[in-house]
Amino acid sequence: MSQNGQPKLAVANASKFYDTGTGKVHALDDFSMEVQEGELACLLGPSGCGKSTLLWAMAGLHGLSAGEIRLDGRPVTRPNPQIAMVFQEANLLPWRNLIKNIELPFEIRGQRPDQARIDALLAEVGLAGFESKMPRELSGGMQQRASIVRALSVDPSLLLMDEPFGALDAFTRDEMNLLIQQIWMETKKTVVFITHNIAEAVFLADRVFVMSARPGRLARIFEIDLPRPRGLEVLMAPHFIELVGEIKGSIDHKPQVQAA
């Protein structure tokens, strides 16, 4: 919690409809949540429930039909230098080598790249020495590491991650989750992490915000009190398994027709 007690990020009564050729799609319904400064919050929900819709609104990439999002008390209506986003499947520019990809935000802002910071981050994620490699020469995990470095290089205070490891194999995913935890513990940034993987959410989060199926509503919030740093052995711990079970049980599995 910041000095004046206000949350880092506040979503209030957010609703969103998409206009499509065949009518309105109700993607997000009266969704509210608060994320505290330095918190690692996971948004968990089935695919198509409106997670990306919410995250893109948090990033100021699109507006809401109703409701409001505030960062440090100020409304977010457009991309904000304090917010950086990590996309699904890395989203590196294939015509730029790794370092040029990481320098993109600086280029866009007309700033000189923070070389010391970038080097330190590259070393931390194990990409030192790969600066001149093209994205296609890197594995999926390495690409996603690079995109994390790209997002952190501009030193945002809020990091938004949209199913960043969804396309990775289970082993790489575990590794990446350890890395995220490590970076988060060192930098104490506020992180909103989207996933549809319950175990991933429980492993990473301080709190797990469970969303209902579309239209996305906040179904429940789970406090994850597992001590940190959490190692992979946590995945076998009885309390972990208990939490996963509890969250699984809280998700209603009524049959539903889903787009996307």
Binding site: Y18, G48, L61, H62, N91, L93, A259
Partner: protein, 285 residues
């Protein structure tokens, strides 16, 4: 992700499925693979040997059968004519190249800019597309007599014809490139605060580059064809004019020497754009 992309589409003018599905006259990887056949050390020897057999064989055959020069000169006669008559042929190579380079530069620039702009406005693209298609499919050579009537026998009508032939080719391919922009990449740039212009320069243009280069390659080859054709229609200079000239005098070695030069120009264009593509578009393959 793809679904949210759809939303972004409302905000940023985009072009997917807008206008005609422009004829993708070629694509980079197929063009690249054709030339990469010529690469590779061991194969090179094989190719060289084949070439020697083909040209040596032609030489031998034409001599053995005593085919008259005015029907078909031997390869050595052609090469010799090119060397001996170079003082006469050389300037005409220059004229043709001037027409080609000037006309292509004008046509390609206009085509590129039009493609970049028009793809931003789906409605405009829809309206303009049929005319572009008309320009692409109508041989611009047909306009040359008219252009000559208006502009005389100098460079002007030829340069216009070259521009008209190459511009639409560049445009239609570049438009395909600009149309396929990846919306997740645009969102990425926007999330870092990129302006529309920056998105254009840093995302859309690089993304379109492979198709632009294909367009430039095809456009310049079309430009060469049109330049030579226009020279054959009227005027007294340029390689096309020399072809008519030498054939009217039945000077076949010189005639074929001009064709040899044209072939070299054409292949050079191909190799040049292959190299450009390797440098600027290799990320795609």
């Amino acid at each position: 992700m793809a679904s949210v992309d759809r939303e972004l589409r409302d905000k940023i003018p985009t072009f997917e499925k807008a206008g005609t599905q422009a004829a993708e006259v070629g694509n980079w990887s197929s063009a690249a693979s054709t030339l990469s056949i010529l690469k590779g050390g061991r194969d090179a020897t094989l190719i060289a040997i084949t070439a020697i057999i083909v040209f040596g064989g032609a030489e031998l055959l034409l001599r053995l059968l005593e085919v008259p020069t005015y029907i078909a000169p031997t390869p050595s006669q052609v090469v010799w004519a090119l060397i001996a008559d170079f003082p006469h042929i050389g300037p005409h190579i220059g004229y043709t190249l001037i027409e080609l380079v000037t006309g292509f530069a004008i046509g390609a620039s206009i085509g590129f800019v039009l493609a970049a702009v028009i793809t931003q406005f789906p409605l405009v693209e829809k309206i303009v597309a049929p005319y572009i298609l008309l320009l692409v499919t109508t041989p611009m050579l047909a306009l040359v007599p008219l252009l000559i009537l208006k502009f005389g026998f100098g460079f002007t009508p030829r340069i216009i014809a070259v521009a008209l032939a190459s511009g639409p080719m560049v445009m239609i391919n570049a438009a395909t490139g600009f149309r396929r922009t990846d919306l997740a990449k645009i969102a990425l740039a926007r999330s870092f605060g990129a302006s529309t212009l920056q998105i254009f320069l840093k995302i859309r243009i690089p993304m379109a580059m492979p198709m632009v280069i294909v367009g430039l390659m095809i456009g310049s080859i079309f430009g060469l064809l049109t330049a030579v054709g226009a020279e054959m229609v009227g005027g007294s200079f340029g390689l096309g004019n020399r072809l008519t000239y030498y054939s009217s005098l039945i000077q076949m070695p010189q005639f074929f020497a001009c064709i040899l030069v044209l072939a070299i120009i054409g292949i050079s264009i191909y190799v040049f754009f292959f190299w450009v593509g390797k440098k600027w578009a290799s990320w795609e393959s």
